[in-house]
């Protein structure tokens, strides 16, 4: 007798919990052939605002963890991802990625998280400076996290997703991520990994649904400090989001001008995009 499998309800990930959309809406995720994979939660404006609230609440604690501890927590994400490697491969295959590209993509995703985990206690040394000013002053510049960052994740199912989340949280930001609308299933799995590793609730919040619908609410939200447009391919939407972001001078990381090669080794650009340089002066005397 064939066993009837237990199907998963795919939900949002907000404040460390898995709620359905408060709107009650879902949409169908389809595979490459257009066949039904799963009903996905379709996040609403209210869900996005709840996620911002959770990210803000988590910011104080996460940003003041020691960098070593943040590195360990992010490394732990990679450890748990490794255990779900086959699941990711199956999900990405089902989404329609050509088979020979799937395993390298999953492996690169795990390695990417390890790479950024290692940056957590190093980027301050690389991006900060001791400043030799012309007077008897101690003067030091250090990067600090920008705050709550909204991310519109790129299409690349898992690699793009971790490549935008990991740098933002490595420096101590908390994030609200809109997963790619077309390949959302690996994002939900990643949310489960966040929930079962050591990432505190609210540090990473993942929404599924329509970026075109939700992103404008995040871009105009006055308690969001930065926005990453990595996954925005429509130039009109990108411009609209950047205009909305100007209202409280969010730091905007624009979408790449062409197709991004997520397999390439990253630069420091994403670590630098959502940090603020603080310079402290103190007189030297006796």
């Amino acid at each position: 007798m064939t066993r009837i499998d237990v199907r998963k309800t795919h939900k949002l990930y907000i404040n460390g919990a898995f709620p359905r959309s408060e709107s009650g809406r879902t949409y169908e995720a389809l595979d490459a052939k257009g066949d039904f994979i799963a009903n996905m939660a379709k996040a609403s404006r209210k869900d996005a605002r709840d996620a911002v609230l959770a990210a803000r609440k988590a910011f104080g604690g996460w940003s003041t963890r020691t960098p070593y501890n943040r590195g360990q927590v992010i490394y732990r994400i990679a450890e748990v991802m490794e255990g779900r490697r086959d699941q990711f491969i199956a999900e990405i295959l089902a989404g329609g990625t050509p088979p020979k590209r799937v395993a390298p993509c999953v492996d690169a995703s795990i390695d990417r998280v390890v790479w950024y985990a290692g940056w957590a206690d190093k980027y301050v040394q690389v991006l900060g400076n001791a400043n030799a000013v012309s007077g008897p002053f101690f003067n030091l510049s250090t990067p600090e996290p920008t705050g709550v960052v909204a991310i519109i994740a790129p299409e690349a199912p898992l690699l793009g997703l971790v490549s935008v989340i990991a740098p933002a949280i490595a420096t101590g930001n908390t994030v609200v991520v809109i997963a790619t609308e077309n390949h959302p299933v690996p994002a939900v799995t990643l949310a489960e990994i966040m929930a079962t590793s050591d990432v505190p609730a609210g540090v990473v919040n993942i929404l599924t649904g329509s970026a075109a619908e939700i992103a404008p609410w995040l871009a105009s939200h006055m308690d969001v400090n930065g926005i990453d447009l990595a996954g925005v391919t429509d130039p009109a939407l990108a411009t609209e989001l950047e205009v909305a972001a100007a209202e409280n001078l969010k730091r905007v990381l624009r979408a790449p001008s062409g197709p991004a090669d997520w397999l390439a080794e990253p630069t420091l650009a994403r670590l630098e995009a959502f940090v603020e340089t603080k310079t402290v002066w103190h007189p030297i005397g006796v």
Binding site: V126, L127, N129, N131, A132, V133, S134, G135, F137, N139, S141, T146, N225, P235, A238, T239, E242, V243, A245, A246, E247, N248, L249, R251, L253, R254, S257, T267, A269, E272, A273, E276, T277, K278, T279, V280, W281, H282, P283
Partner: protein
């Protein structure tokens, strides 16, 4: 009760203005020479006397286009082809000329801006020469700036600067831009164009290739035309948060790189164990330096409750010794408010302070008959909800609040959409570091205030803008491959 102490009267000691030759009218400095504009003109006046100093050209959109084309041509044909070591020599030349002619610039700055000569002479101009000298040295070392082995310039930079530190802001903008290999079109503020126009002469003296630096004068529409010009690769703006937001909107959807240095409402926090004599000097310098026309001014004083009476008494006693008057007098501490518009804004917000129930106290000083003046003023009994605790006054007006615990001080200090600077006064080292790490501000001065240096990055958090000026970070803002 504080009274003005009996001291010896000062004899007037005015700096001679004979050192500077102001022309009756100025054109636009484009492609290495002064040219007529296609539009009208406007007058720039001395805010201390309201006398007309010169007639200045109002650059039209067509003039802006001419200037950007000159900058583009200079970038492509000359400046981008020069080795960094040769660019450096031009910048060193400029640094030296600015030092040699610094008194002339200081007098002109004080005339056009209204700031005391002792500030233009001892702060602004030394920093200008130092800024060019510092960035000159970077021009042939870009590969060591942490941006890869051979970082590239952006191209043409459109730069719009404010009226509070006209020549200093010019140096902050032009020096790193040129060192990184860009060419520039710079617009000074409409009330303070003269030192930028004199700087054009310095470019000629240094034999800087034509078009590398272009100076265009005008008001908001001229600046807007520059910022929105499609052939500008980099926008650098210092000024109000409202205009900064408009610029952020206008560059949306382009590939322009932007740095914005905007408003502030800095908290200057005084603990009960602070070195009070030094703290009083820091409070006074923090808000009355440059008539309070300083984006990073310590305009909110947070005093620990148990030393409040002592601090206020000492502060009033010190304020009573401030000398307000002729900007060219070497004894002057407080110069003229830069414009009638700014004076009206200061008066309006101060009146709001009265109406909302704060208590006003102004230093006793004589206000001259002509020009724009505002006596150094403090408001006590201010709460966080008061507009004078929330809005940038940009004048010699200090709002005083109190706190009991470090946590309360942090909460009040960070309770603002701005985040440019902050001050902390305490003798306890661990408290300084704890406060400094919790303050959401780009510059934290501990047991000092309003210090600037070309090696020290300067810029804000939140709505005080983004990007940094000064240091390696300020250089990165003019190079590809950096996100700053």
């Amino acid at each position: 009760m504080t009274t003005k102490r009996k001291t010896f009267e000062y004899a007037p000691a005015p700096e001679s203005r004979a050192i500077v030759d102001i022309k009756s009218s100025y054109g636009l400095f484009i492609n290495g020479e002064f040219v007529d504009g296609k539009g009208g003109s406007f007058k720039t006046i001395s805010p201390a006397t309201e006398e007309v100093l010169a007639e200045v050209t109002e650059a039209t959109a067509a003039d802006v286009d001419t200037a950007v084309r000159a900058a583009r041509k200079a970038y492509e044909t000359v400046w981008s082809k020069l080795p960094g070591s040769e660019r450096a020599k031009y910048l060193y030349r400029i640094a030296r000329i600015m030092a040699e002619r610094s008194r002339e610039f200081a007098v002109l700055e004080s005339l056009d801006n209204g700031k005391p000569i002792k500030e233009s002479r001892d702060v602004d101009l030394p920093l200008v020469a130092q800024w060019f000298f510092y960035y000159a040295g970077w021009a042939d070392k870009l590969g060591h700036a942490g941006l890869g082995p051979d970082p590239k310039a952006l191209g043409v930079a459109g730069q719009v600067i404010p009226w509070n530190f006209p020549i200093m802001m010019l140096a902050w903008k032009i020096a790193p831009a040129l060192a990184a290999g860009n060419t520039v079109v710079l617009k000074p503020a409409e009330t303070t164009p003269l030192t930028a126009l004199l700087f054009a002469e310095v470019c000629q003296q240094a034999e800087l290739p034509p078009g590398v630096v272009n100076i265009i004068t005008g008001a908001g529409p001229t600046g807007q035309a520059l910022v929105e010009h499609p052939d500008v690769d980099k926008v650098a703006f210092t000024g109000s948060t409202a205009v900064g937001k408009a610029i952020a909107r206008s560059v949306a959807g382009t590939s322009k790189k932007v740095t914005l240095e905007l408003g502030g409402k800095a908290a200057n926090i005084v603990f009960d164990d602070a070195p009070l004599d030094q703290a009083i000097e820091g409070i006074v310098g923090g808000i009355f330096f440059n008539q309070g026309h300083v984006c990073c001014a310590g305009s909110r004083l947070l005093v620990q409750e148990n030393v409040y009476d002592d601090v206020i008494e000492r502060l009033k006693r010190r304020m009573a010794t401030l000398r307000l008057g002729d900007p060219l007098d070497k004894n002057t501490d407080i110069g003229a408010i830069n414009s009638a518009e700014q004076l009206a804004r200061i008066k309006e917000l101060s009146a709001v302070g009265d109406a909302e129930g704060a208590e006003r106290w102004s230093a006793p000083c004589e206000i001259p008959d002509h020009g724009f003046w505002f006596a150094p003023t403090i408001f006590t009994g201010v709460t966080q909800a008061h507009r004078i605790a929330r809005e940038e006054i940009f004048g010699p007006v200090l709002s005083v609040l109190t706190f009991r615990t470090p946590a309360e001080a942090i909460e009040k200090a960070n309770n603002t959409p701005y985040g440019l600077s902050a001050g902390v006064w305490t003798e306890k080292g661990s408290r300084i570091l704890s406060m400094a790490s919790q303050l959401r501000a780009g510059v934290v001065w501990a047991n000092t205030f309003n210090k600037f240096d070309p090696a020290s990055p300067f810029g804000g958090y939140k709505e005080s803008g983004y990007g940094r000026e000064g240091g390696r970070h300020g250089l990165a803002a003019y190079l590809q491959g950096a996100s700053a």
